[in-house]
Symmetry: C2
Subunit: 266 residues, 2 copies
């Protein structure tokens, strides 16, 4: 199995606090033509949705990939590339309205499978999603092994992992703290809709989705998978306080403003 | 809140496949004296348990820290530094026997709290652990907000996240695939026991644990927390195929041998 981590360039893509770096292994230009699973992560995806190199790459490889996948708001990037037209998809609970705005049938599942589209819910749903994809591609035995390895027998201390469980007061607090990034996302959705309407006025009128493979191949490994790290981490495409890479990964975190949710206890 | 990511040096600490880098923000030498939470992550910790700079640093800061914490087999590093003498602790299920060998009372909880020691189980237990610590230090409201943000409403597709759920056949497969790293860990435990017996023959005879703070301070933020990235990722201290950092994070994953569990489906 070969995993390609893809980005516009080979520069490290940094997390919001600039202490975690993901090193792309190939660029959009030198990535193999044929990818078995085209996977897009989520996060603050407004800029990625509007990045033409990203969207063109996804549309191109997505037309050939046997499987197309995302977790969290990565579904919004897939939708921006037209890869969810006619499909049902999960996303982060706070991104569901945006996904619907892009004409996608929204699922509330943790791991949603619609033909050859595998999509996961927000952040931690990526674990349920990952095990589900693992089972469908490498077989149930491999998935169970991974689950045992990572001790995934969850016991959440609170029932606050969904809007229903957390309740309206907590959701209002969430909305307040994410207002800026939600506005960025809303604007990106509007721009994507305008661009797609202008470039292909008949796009939503009867276009057939690409066919999935005739059958899924359990117990047969994939040779290539693709991950696109541009959106989960702070780099050229991240909405949130992009900062230059200062080399060696050495950045005093004390010099950064606290992430929004860290001010809650103050 | 300030988070210090600590290591022997400021060099990036790389993941096993060398595509994920964590940049330390301070070294053991220039880290602040007083830390609110001294936190140690897990992984393949055999080398870290025997690294004298790591152990000396933890013993020193641990004597002053109001809270001492770990997830996964980070508990074995804490134990090697004497910081779990007289305490109950969780760890990865496969590390429990090793932890008991070091004289620690083993808990099977996802998040174990014994006075001022906060310890988590294996890998994904870090989420339950993190929310529990969050609630104890910044308050329940902050913890529930974090849970909502990351959509932590788990729905595992299988019941294979514990040895009991996965069953003996899967556990035997796990033992086979982790035999080498388990041997490394077993040897490290033996060496730690010998070193501690030689340096402090009366250590286990009535030494009183450090007292926890008089009361935990919910809704009051901590000013400093510490994470030690040396053991979860592949660097000088990782047991598993350490490889040189090749700069810019650009490493073709196709040149690496597949991790052990990736060969399952072949």
């Amino acid at each position: 199995m070969t995993i390609h981590l893809l980005s516009n360039t080979l520069d490290p893509v940094l997390s919001e606090d600039c202490v975690l770096a993901i090193g792309p292994t190939a660029t959009f230009d030198d990535c193999p033509e044929q990818l078995d699973i085209l996977f897009v992560p989520g996060g603050f995806v407004g800029k990625a949705m509007l990045d033409q190199a990203t969207i063109a790459f996804l549309a191109d490889r997505g037309a050939m990939a046997p499987y197309i996948a995302s977790v969290c708001n990565g579904a919004l990037i897939l939708a921006a590339a037209g890869l969810l037209d006619g499909y049902r998809s999960a996303t982060h609970w706070a991104g569901r309205d945006h996904l619907a705005q892009l004409g996608v049938e929204v699922s509330t599942e943790r791991a949603c499978i619609d033909r050859n589209r595998f999509t996961g819910g927000g952040v931690t749903a990526g674990i349920d999603f990952g095990l589900t994809v693992f089972a469908h591609t490498l077989g149930e035995k491999a998935a169970k092994f991974a689950q045992l390895m990572m001790g995934y027998d969850p016991k959440p201390p609170f029932n606050a992992g969904s809007p229903q469980g957390a309740g309206p007061e907590m959701v209002a607090l969430f909305d307040k703290f994410t207002a800026d990034s939600d506005t960025t996302l809303r604007n990106a959705v509007s721009q994507v809709k305008e661009q797609r309407a202008a470039s292909s006025p008949t796009r939503h009128q009867g276009r057939m989705p690409a066919s999935p493979p005739a059958s899924s191949p359990p117990d047969r490994p994939f040779h290539r998978t693709t991950s696109l790290p541009t959106s989960t981490v702070c780099g050229a495409l991240c909405d949130r306080n992009p900062r230059p890479y200062r080399g060696r990964g050495v950045v005093p975190t004390s010099s950064f403003p606290a992430p929004c949710h860290c001010t809650l206890g103050r």
